[in-house]
Symmetry: C3
Subunit: 461 residues, 3 copies
């Protein structure tokens, strides 16, 4: 019994010794001891082997254990603590073509960015001189951010303009409500699809001519809501960026736009939109409608109403979009009705529309935002410089505008534009446009039907 006890004791002791050395497992001295104990008869062969086997098993088990579990249980915590102390509260920094810093809790963010658009154009002149040349079309910087989660701001400036006229967005958002957002400051009146789509993301170098009916940015207060496939935005807006200095008070407008997408799948979109705006003229009690022929380098406007004495005017736009994978069809119709200031003067109405189709040869689909009811930044399937060829898109547009009604002889214009867009990366766009003025009836440049070939290089960051 003593012998047995001794064996058991030795067994237990030796097993304990082996096991007491986790992750080392090479206690040769103890192995030697075991051998000595075997040799001097303290333990027998059977016990010796049993002990070694048990020890080995336990050792294996133990040697695995600390490598995984030991680390996980206690040390991982220490690691996480240490990392958190040093780097854990570091904000997230976005670099992939868009500089943004966002706090860990998402309460704060800061973003700085901008765009450059450089153009060149050559004209096939008809009657008037449209000078060939180059131009910085837009050169903008902005800063924007989130403050305390519920608030946001943006300040954007275009350096191609002079002084206060270069201020683009300059607003504050309150996003603390469930579905609604309040915006105040200087921003776009919500009106029409091509107006609400950034100049970076339109199909051609310039918006279709009926864009001259759209209001621009003004100082105002607006409320915006959106659901899964609809958006609505409505606001009240003053006039321009600086205080009125004429002898009349500033005017104001009520403007609203709603969009709805009855079909909204990844590559099948059916979008409808309606906009309406009523403006009371104020310090400037005249209005003027005119625009360049979908080409910005020339300074000539082929249609132009001249200044019209105006009390108030209403404008409307209807939008339809169909997207089938790489193909998109878009159209808008605009109507504008004026009430004259001088009583005897008749009240004219103007209108216009455009239809455009586009096709991604490389298979991409336009990036539609249902919550904004407009198009956004494109992601080409292949990146130039990373083995891809970018996204290639063909586009064709027909636009028509009629600025002649009653006593206003602003002229009519029909224009066809063919476009090729190349997006080597999501941040870059190279565009070639061929603009053909098909017909100009009446107005200041009756019968002048030039064409233009123009190029743009664009980067956004």
């Amino acid at each position: 019994m003593i012998r047995f006890d001794m064996k058991a004791g030795i067994l237990v002791v030796v097993a304990g010794l082996f096991m007491s050395q986790p992750a080392i497992g090479e206690n040769k001295a103890l192995q030697e001891l075991m051998k000595a104990l075997l040799e001097n008869g303290t333990i027998d062969q059977q016990t010796y082997e049993l002990v070694l086997k048990v020890a080995e098993q336990e050792e294996n088990e133990l040697s695995r254990t600390p490598n995984t579990d030991n680390v996980d249980e206690s040390i991982r915590l220490a690691v996480a603590e240490e990392v958190a102390k040093t780097a854990g509260d570091q904000p997230t920094i976005t670099t992939n073509g868009k500089f943004e810093i966002r706090s860990k809790d998402n309460d704060f963010s800061f973003r700085a960015g901008g765009r450059i658009q450089v153009d060149a154009a050559t004209y096939d002149e008809d009657r008037l001189r449209h000078n060939d040349g180059t131009e910085l079309r837009r050169a903008r910087l902005f800063a924007s951010g989130t403050l305390w989660q519920a608030w946001a701001y943006k300040l954007q400036y275009d350096f191609t303009a002079t002084g206060i006229d270069g201020i683009q967005d300059a607003f504050i958002d309150y996003k603390g409500f469930d579905r609604w957002k309040i915006r105040f400051g200087h921003f776009k009146e919500p009106f029409s699809l091509q107006n609400m789509t950034s100049s970076k993301y339109i199909r051609f170098m310039e918006r279709g001519m009926p864009h001259l009916f759209a209001p621009g940015r003004n100082i105002g207060l607006a409320a915006t809501a959106s659901g899964g496939n609809w958006s609505f935005s409505s606001g009240i807006f003053g006039e321009g960026r600086d205080g009125s200095s004429d002898d009349n008070d500033e005017g104001y407008a009520i403007t609203a736009r709603g969009t709805y997408a009855p079909m909204l799948k990844e590559d099948r979109i059916f979008h409808l939109g309606l906009s309406a705006s009523h403006r009371i003229t104020g310090s400037t009690d005249t209005v003027r409608f005119r625009d360049r022929p979908e080409s910005h380098l020339t300074d000539i406007r082929l249609v132009d109403t001249g200044l019209i004495d105006t009390d108030s005017f209403s404008r409307f736009a209807g939008e339809v979009v169909l997207v089938f994978g790489p193909i998109a069809l878009e159209g808008e119709y605009y109507y504008l009705y004026l009430e004259r200031e001088i009583n005897r003067n008749p009240d004219p109405a103007f209108s216009g529309y455009y239809l455009q189709g586009s096709w991604f040869l490389t298979g991409e689909t336009l990036n539609y935002s249902a919550s904004k009811g407009s198009f956004g930044k494109l992601s080409p399937q292949g990146i130039v410089g990373k083995g891809g060829i970018g996204a290639w898109q063909l586009a064709l547009r027909f636009s028509s505008i009629d600025l002649a009604d009653e006593d206003i002889m602003g002229g009519e214009q029909m224009t066809m534009t063919f476009g090729l867009n190349w997006f080597p990366t999501p941040n870059l766009r190279l565009t070639a446009n061929y603009v053909d003025v098909l017909d100009v009836k009446g107005g200041p440049a009756a019968g002048d039907e030039p064409s233009a070939f123009q190029l743009r290089a664009q980067v956004e960051f």
Copy 2:
């Protein structure tokens, strides 16, 4: 004795086995062995229980031990090393409403930010037309930073101005001395409390009318010092931002301001200040003093000295502030004395003052900086969007200005302004002001006493 030895041996062995398994503590095989030893009589019940108890105690002790000490001693070091290698030298990034990057050693920092102020105003007109409307009052971006610890810079531009006139701060600081700081470039001449307090932090939308006596920013060289409750700044300044192009050399001014706070507790402040400036007129040997009626949308100045031929002029301002918790009383008196260029013309003196009181309904105290002798960014006790209501402040100001002396008939004006400020977060401010022009005697708009109701939305970032 052998039995005793055996028991002791077994006890020791088993305790050792248990203890040899730190952090695992579930060696069922050994528990089985103990049971077997008990059952076959090698150990008795008492020993069995004792062993188990001791083993358990030791185990508990051990299982706690490695989780803390083991980790702390060796692994924490390894963790810290690894973290430092990967992320340790990362600069500190501030996001909470203020984007700043600061190197670990504090030698370098970079900050980008700005402000937007959007106004709307409506006038209750008296004799002259003051047009209602909206306005971008300020839209600024800036970059600033620290270089090699001892140096700093700031460049700030206001996009509501045109060209070089939009440059606000554009200076370099040397901070390498103990108590003194040297600043050179384009910055504010140190003069008067409301002038030195940022437009973001003044009590109303506009500074009190006597502010027209204060110099603006000019190119100069200044030295600044400050202690626990005082500040002093003095410098020499040229004229404007661009070189003079008239037929005379640019003039210059020596300007100084000192402040002292005899009482400076967390919510009890008594502040005194004195400013003096002497300017020699140069290329422009005339001066003109005029200002809008504490409302910026109108372009009309109710008081106006017109151009005065001037050789030199001296101006002075005295400041008193009392802060009792949420209540603050502030007042400044200004005096300006001109020496005429044309000998026979008499030398006039003008003066003005304002008194204003403000009260935080929500209990905050104005953020006073003794080292600058001015007021800074407010931190509301509750954040709107985070369950709070922000800070609410009422304010009342009376101001008086006298621009009539000798042959100069600039007029006198007294104005009362009532204000309500709401700070939903430290970065946002919404202000409503009712400005009542109480009395206008003489000057270009004698007897025109309009009132204005005006709103401002402000964000800083």
Copy 3:
């Protein structure tokens, strides 16, 4: 034998117990037990000491082991994993006087920065009035970055200019070829050494007068290549920033510059350069050459060709630079040849040159970039504020210009400028220049030979 067994058992047991407590090593209870076993005779003194010794040895071995190997093998991995998860993909942030964020894979970067140059000047007038004063010479902000590795952009604006004229660089780069780089947008035509060297890094406050022969920035397309000691750049460029509005199309130029450094060691540089440009005038069919006398505060140009009717003109520049450690000798010769628009008018040719030497008293060497063929940012050996005195440089320049040929009486001017530059840190520069107009023959200011003492403070970030 039993006693021996017991001893051995106890020895083994106790050693095991000691060893089972790695890194703790203070099991007093077991030491007490050993003492008790010794005292009650279970073990003898010899065994007692042997056990203690063995235990101590093993303990030492074990206590070292886990501190190093244990950590290295398993935990370092866990640490690295944890760190990587939390902070590993963080971009690199540069702060040392230059704010830049660069993604880990180097595919993207964003940089924001700028410069401020503030000047003061006083003139020792001769015949004409050159007004003393102060000026913001340049105040620029820019954003630049890398996009998808192969692309880059830069947008820079100078706030001392008005509107679109303030736009400096506004370009896109494609760097995806091996040796070539394509640049399009608004940037400097590659011409002459002092033109291609940034205004931050030239030896004096203003470039030498023959700089009036250099083209500025225009909208264009250029290709650039460089090797270890050479650079070549060539492009086609339009006119200015905005579209032409005159009755002629915009003109264009072909411009190229090549540089070669036959010797290029750390402190021994021999640089040669050649530039050529041919411009067809377009909408502006006149040109004018004139410049201030190497001092910008004055508005007077001592030499001036007036408007010259021009069809086209060609210009050339040759560069030589020698750098011997802290000493640099630089020179350029310019030649310009005009073809007149009006047939009977003779075709004039103008020319000019400058020679300048500079010496770093503190031993620095100019920072030459062979791939650009121009000079860059200097790193002083000691930093002011970090125990150093910065870099101190003396410079002397002689320049000569001849704008009189055929019927064009633009005048001739010789100018000597002495300069002292102090670079307290790599980001800061303080410069004093003494400009002495040695001789003015003919032209609009014949015989007016003023001198100027001028100071500049410059910061870049």
